[in-house]
């Protein structure tokens, strides 16, 4: 055994971090234990907070406590990684991947399972989209009675794609994600510039600014999503192209909700008789919110990762030796972008 590995047993860095990466593989960590407890608490308290759609506020403080526990675990994890400078980057030793960075293989395999998750969500979507009659078909067929809810499939696109203003948040989001894929590549490009070819201070600034830009675009994505779901917005008087002052309602205020079994929409009013068709749209709303919400959670996960990367970049830690970390995050981020490119047409346009 070589010399530095003899040290291993005597060498006891704190399990709270930071790690001494010069000594190779990660040392002990409290983070997994704490994170598991936090996740368990969170799910337990979520089960208390909502029961079959009924809200019980007593559990709300504990939700925040459990989130704090998870955050603490993440901080421990990141604190241990903060000292990572790329000098310890394990590479494959066997065929066929000899010399490929181990972490890169890991990220690709991880993305494979992510693909399966979204495939499952999409198969649920396809099952219901095909299996349940469309609300507009039912409405046109006249096969309904006022006051009795019809079970039918109402895609969110019926509301979202109803006007350019309605679709604006989603459209802006699409561009935000595409641009953020570009900015993360720019961050990687600057971090990767050979030492000496660029001033280190310029490199530091460029890398952290590009990462911060990515962070902002991701935050913009989530903000617009919240506006589209819950808040809505106001269109001022523009005065040309026939645009007049009006409000764009959120999906929430339109009643597009997971528990709405008496959904009424203005486009389901029989002009001749003035009768309203009411619909049970719980399945379509559940699909919309859960699928796009899962994607949103991935974006949120990206924000957490970006926070760490941006902070580390701000300290000037990224250089050609350690730039691969940005690359691995970038793989994930491109994936999230790609998923959106699928989610957007299926849930927003079609």
């Amino acid at each position: 055994m070589s010399a530095d590995y003899h040290d291993h047993d005597d060498h006891h860095p704190s399990p709270w971090g930071p790690h001494d990466w010069g000594h190779g593989a990660p040392h002990n960590s409290f983070s997994p234990l704490i994170m598991s407890i936090g996740c368990g608490m969170f799910l337990l308290m979520l089960g208390g907070l909502f029961s079959f759609g009924e809200y019980d506020g007593r559990y709300l403080p504990m939700i925040f406590v459990s989130l704090a526990v998870i955050a603490a675990a993440l901080i421990v994890w990141c604190r241990q990684d903060m000292s990572f400078d790329g000098s310890y980057e394990p590479r494959a030793v066997g065929v066929p991947f000899k010399n490929v960075q181990v972490r890169k293989v890991g990220v690709w395999i991880f993305l494979w399972s992510e693909m399966m998750i979204f495939s499952s969500l999409f198969s649920t979507y396809m099952r219901y989209r095909q299996g349940i009659p469309r609300c507009d078909t039912v409405f046109e067929s006249g096969d309904w009675v006022e006051g009795v809810a019809v079970t039918c499939f109402e895609p969110a696109s019926k509301l979202i794609a109803s006007s350019w203003w309605h679709i604006a948040p989603g459209a802006i989001n699409t561009f935000a994600l595409i641009i953020s894929s570009f900015t993360i590549v720019q961050a990687l490009r600057w971090a990767n510039k050979p030492v000496g070819s660029v001033d280190e201070e310029v490199r530091r600034k460029r890398v952290y600014r590009y990462l911060a830009a990515t962070w902002c675009l991701a935050a913009l994505f989530l903000t617009l999503k919240m506006i589209e779901w819950f808040i809505g917005f106001h269109v001022p008087e523009i005065g040309f192209l026939g645009l007049h002052e009006h409000d764009i309602h959120s999906l929430y205020s339109e009643g597009y909700l997971i528990n709405n079994d008496h959904y009424q929409a203005h486009h389901y009013v029989d002009e001749a008789t003035g009768a309203h068709m009411v619909a049970n749209i719980q399945v379509s709303a559940s699909l919309f919110y859960v699928t796009t919400g899962t994607h949103g959670l991935h974006v949120f996960g990206g924000i957490v990762g970006l926070t760490y990367l941006t902070y580390k970049a701000w300290t000037g830690a990224y250089n050609p030796q350690s730039a691969v970390s940005i690359e691995y995050f970038g793989l994930y981020w491109h994936f999230v972008d790609l998923v959106w490119v699928l989610v957007f047409p299926f849930f927003y346009l079609y």
Binding site: Y5, S29, P32, F52, V102, I258
Partner: protein
Amino acid sequence: MGGSAVSRRLALISLMAIAMIVVPAVTSLPSGISGVKDTGCNCHGTEADPSVTASISGLPSSYNASETYNVTVSFTGGPAIDGNANLGGFNLWVSEGTLATLDSSTQLWGPNEASHTTEGNDQRSWTLEWTAPVSGKDVDFILHTNSVNGNEGDGGSSGDMWAKAQVEVTGFGGELPEADPFKVLATLIVVSSVLLSIVVLYVFYRNNPEGFEWERFAPWITEWLTSTDHKKIGTLYFVQGLFFLGVGGIMALMIRVQLATPGAEFISQGYYNQFFTLHGTTMIFLAAMPLIAGFANWIVPLQIGAPDLAFPRLNALSFWLQPVAALLIFTGVFSGGGADTGWTGYAPYVVTENTHAGVSMWAAGQIMLVASSTLTGINFLTTMAVMRAPGMGWFQMPLFTWSILVANLMLFLSIPAFGVGLIQVFLDRTIGTAFYDVAAGGDPLLWSHLFWYFGHPEVYVVIVPAFGVISEVIATSARRSIFGYKSMVYAMAGIGLVSFIVYGHHMFTSGMSPTLRFVTMLTTMLVAVPTGIKIFNWLKTMHGGSLVYRTHTLWTLGFLVTFTLGGISGMFFPSMALDVHLHETYFVVAHFHYVLVGGTVFGFFAAIYYWYPKMTGRMLDERLGVLHFLTAFISYNALFWPMHRLGVVGMIRRTHTYYITTDDFQALPEWAADWNMLISVSAFLFFASNLLLVVNMIKSLIRGEKAPADPWGGWSFEWMTSSPPPTPSFDPHNLPELKDANEHVANEPSRLGQMFRRLMVDDDASEGGSH
């Protein structure tokens, strides 16, 4: 939630429809009525009628323990029909205490439910006796009365009116609530945890009797809580797996006591249903999977000559998610309402409100297990892809490592579907989404598809590592190379591939499309081919060998017997004419216990006897081992073999009781009761015999013989390290190199491998070695 309101209305309407068809009553239902506590007398109309008033008199406002009260139930009002104004009936339900009849106008449906008799169905008032409970709990009385109009023409029950009255009698606060079986189980868990802590302390003490003090204990326990070493995590997995094997075993025993005699009341059905649900979930997810992960953690890095796994900290996270998930899954137990859905959790029952409260956390716990398995998958797939020692190509990997690779690949590709299904169920049960709400258009079969798309690969995930173990043990014990190494690998890969397209056979009778049934029937038949190859290869390995009989050899031979039997009985299911009768019977139970216990668990036992010396540095006692094998093998077969026959004669699974043929109807033959008793007795013997293994392990830890590096004469890298191996297991700067006794050197990447390399290797990486 709106959806359930719709389904409730549907339920009421159909109840009414049923009543109209099946109750030709002139008066109220002549023989009395039971089970209307929650639904009401909807056979007489959907809603209670305000013109009828029901009342209960004779009750104190607060009762005394064990005192007897005369209770009079009566009603007034209702349809006035000439000469028939007095007709009516009632149903009284009481939450605590016992009811007794005073005359022949009333009858009991149980200690807490009473109704009128044929004789008493033309009265408006009845008197009963109620004996107060000793518990001191508040008692609810729920009374339904029916005032009938006596019309005969249209089925009898239309035009009747009914009313409901509810009275609460407060208790005296009273003594401790009664113990129920689940509290017993909870106590067992708590006691076992305390024992576990004592064992932990004892193990620490044994390590260094002089240094038994907090200053030394704190870092020692911290090391275990924070370790990222694959061997320590592997050990933790073992502790968890063996602990839950015991818990699941105890639950199985409870089930068996209940089923020992027909119509037994050892545990109530509410508890029975939780026991079989948690038995399944525990054994699959909290016992078998951690045991596999334990062996994989311990052995895979050692076998491929890697210092540790690729992502040691993720590995620690994979492990720690498990015990927390186990706590969530069992949360319901502590509140008295553990999950009662069966491990398959079929929709829409799993998302209805009359399941036990613990179902939400049962789903939540499994979501965490899905996360854990996914991380494990990433970790092991990466490790096996990139960290094989120099000289070890794909086709030089030991077969156990191959089996873990195939198992993880299957798990990794299938478990996200299960995870998504579970999240849908969890959200349905919490925030109120409607993925499986039938009234809103939800499809119950969608859950079955998502579940079995994972569930079938999952059972192969559990059995394939046992194949790996058997391959290692049988070759080493026969002192030979394994016969047909490559066909073994291809067979495993074949099983992995086929596993994804056969799952439909779980849904043959579930209303799935006939085309899919037919396709999955064909593919299911195919499973036999690769499995057959494996069995014949193992048998052929012994040919010309020299079988050294050790305990692990015995378990391996035992595995070959039981697994072959389980495999053969599995062939009966794809045949439709057989399946439509055998589905959901004890034949299925017998089959999968032959495969999962006789296969997986026996394989693990072989693995424990085979690798325990490597893990602990101590040999196990061979004589205790042989005794363990003999008692367990015999009691095991006595336990599960009779179930085949019971299944064929129609005993169905997941029921609290079973029916024996009477003069009126055919059900199970009389001998079925005796056989069930035999099964239950054998179950206890099987459980007890496995305690020998625990004794053996503890005994050898304390004063076992010191183990050499290679006690059995195996060839793979784990036998190169000391027993127990050092940390890191291999020096990363001085990795071992695998030699090959054959001519060829398969060290060049395959064409596919070269493609991957071009995709993934960046320029500076390909220049030279990393170290």
